[in-house]
């Protein structure tokens, strides 16, 4: 999966989990939680969805790396490259 594909997959998962939020103007370098209503349970849903769909395991210590869209893509890209 390319970097662009990784990003679009991530955005699709976020959109599925918070369907009522408008994600069109989401900035990549600002924490997602500061821009839209995304609580800790929504965040956990993203983690679960990544495992369910792609078998990706994000350990709790790495959660911080999924704070922004850009940092999430940087974190996920090497893990999704071979998918």
């Amino acid at each position: 999966m390319t970097k662009e594909e990784t990003k679009s997959v991530l955005m699709e998962i976020v959109a599925q989990i918070i369907p009522d939020e408008d994600l069109t103007n989401l900035k990549g370098d600002i924490p997602i939680r500061e821009q839209v209503e995304l609580d800790s349970m929504d965040f956990l849903d993203i983690i679960m969805e990544l495992r369910k769909r792609y078998g990706i395991e994000v350990p709790e210590d790495d959660y911080i790396q999924l704070a922004t869209i850009d940092s999430s893509v940087a974190y996920l890209e090497p893990r999704m490259r071979d998918l």
Binding site: I17, D39, M41, L44, I47, M48, R51
Partner: protein, 468 residues
């Protein structure tokens, strides 16, 4: 002849969930949706744990714990259950507090709370905003040394009336006191303050029925009247459980039973490291409850007096007074016919906090007399809000910590799980025994309808991780 409640169970399941409180139910549902084979075991004949109800002659239905939960429950039900369950959640708008310090009605949502604090308690808007945003910013991994008392003293020094306004409803909701960590208060209060107090339209029987149907649809093997006596461990790994005397194998076990009885009774201290048991022994159980159920005669009506009444004759908020056997502090949950659309029945449930030890060791005679006193004192207090209440009721019953213990099997009838330190022990079980998990009311923040359901999801995620 005894029915075999475990007839035709499979010889092995991916996960066996012990107990069907909100956390156990939600955990089982999530894991089943994830494709795992699940056996759900409940000792009672109804699912729900403390999210339960009972029927009595005269057409009465009494809800045990449907007093109100935060708006977050809508999202939780939509995501982890189904849209129909989420859609049956409605707001309870009449929250009334009446005590020697003040008497007021609020929806307890953020805007109305700020109005009450400004108009009634004369607090500057800025202080209120700062207080609310301080609470919103709290996380469970933050500093736990500050107590709720200290938090209140920082914002509202010397204001016992405000302490009562912001603390008493939470004490009824989760048994917490001013000595519990400020973060436990902040997280729970913020949840309520967000948009106020909500309930299920249709009653507990309807919601648990819908959940049961969803579980079955998702392939969960649901078994009631099955008491688990032992969790089987082999070489520090889960082997299965013994239920109604029958051994059933499982790769993982999620106990939704009381945390301490799971450790000491179902698993046994010998299966844990000494240091873990030492820590587990420090976990304090939360208090228990008393309730009085009052059924209004068919054909009788009561005027709208609010949905949830926090009443007390005590001079100020005092958690010891709230738990004492002769407390004058109680919550009345008024269930009007619209609770169950189509019904014309009213019922009232009075709840108070209680100490197990005040009730556990009474003689049979003294116990019965104490229950009758509790009923009469409750009716006396209700008279102020519903005149001639004694002429309107045709059914009365009381529950004590012993009753809660009998139906939930929680040690000391604990109705709100454990204090904060229980969370770490609950989450630490899988590190001690491979495949062993716990979910349910722990640590104050994982308590109540929303906390328990969400904790069920968090643990389901851990179990799924373990299995895959």
């Amino acid at each position: 002849m005894n029915r075999d409640w475990l007839k035709d169970t499979k010889s092995e399941y991916d996960v066996i969930v012990i107990g069907s409180g909100l956390a156990g139910l939600t955990c089982a549902n999530m894991l089943a949706k994830g494709g795992h084979s699940i056996l759900l075991l409940e000792h009672h004949y109804n699912l729900g744990g403390l999210a339960t109800w009972f029927k009595r002659k005269g057409g009465h239905i009494f809800d045990i714990s449907l007093h109100g939960f935060p708006v977050g429950m809508i999202k939780t039900c939509r995501k982890y259950w189904n849209p129909e369950i989420a859609d049956s959640i409605v707001q309870l708008k009449g929250i009334r507090l009446d005590n020697p310090q003040f008497s007021l009605t609020t929806t307890y949502d953020s805007d109305d709370f700020k109005r009450v604090m400004q108009e009634h308690f004369k607090i500057p808007r800025e202080t209120i905003d700062n207080f609310v945003s301080a609470l919103r910013g709290m996380n469970f991994y933050d500093d736990q040394t500050m107590t709720t008392r200290e938090l209140f003293e920082n914002f509202f020094p010397g204001r016992h009336d405000i302490v009562r306004m912001i603390m008493e409803p939470i004490t009824y909701a989760n048994g917490s006191t001013l000595d519990d960590p400020a973060i436990t208060y902040g997280i729970v209060f913020s949840n309520f303050l967000n948009k106020g107090v909500y309930t299920f339209q249709g009653g507990t029987d309807k919601i648990i029925g819908m959940m049961r149907a969803e579980l079955i649809k998702n392939g969960v093997d649901v078994r009631t009247k099955c008491l688990v006596g032992k969790i089987g461990i082999e070489d520090k790994k889960i082997a299965g459980v013994v239920a109604n005397g029958k051994m059933i194998k499982g790769k993982a076990v999620v106990s939704n039973g009381n945390l301490l009885s799971t450790i000491h009774k179902l698993v046994g201290d010998e299966n844990f490291s000494e240091s873990f048991i030492e820590e587990a022994k420090k976990v304090r159980l939360n208090n228990s409850s008393c309730q009085v159920y009052m059924g209004i005669k068919k054909g009788e009506k009561i005027d709208y007096i609010g949905d949830l009444l926090f009443t007390s004759e005590a001079e100020k908020f005092d958690s010891e007074e709230l738990r004492s056997k002769n407390t004058t502090s109680r919550t009345f949950s008024i269930y009007y016919p619209q609770t169950r659309p189509g019904s014309d029945m009213y019922s009232i449930v009075a709840s108070s906090n209680a100490n197990y030890n005040d009730w556990a060791n009474l003689s049979e005679e003294k116990y019965r007399a104490s229950k009758e006193e509790l009923i009469q004192r409750t009716l006396d207090a209700l008279e102020k809000y519903v005149p001639k209440i004694r002429d309107k009721v045709d059914y009365l019953e009381a529950a004590t910590p012993k009753t809660f213990q009998r139906y939930t099997l929680h040690l000391s009838g604990a109705s709100f799980g454990t204090k904060f330190e229980g969370l770490k022990i609950s989450m630490g079980l899988p590190k001690e025994i491979l495949g062993l998990f716990h979910t349910g009311s722990v640590g104050i923040i994982m308590s109540g309808w929303l906390g328990a359901a969400n904790y069920g999801v968090i643990v389901a995620n851990d179990v799924d991780k373990f299995l895959s």
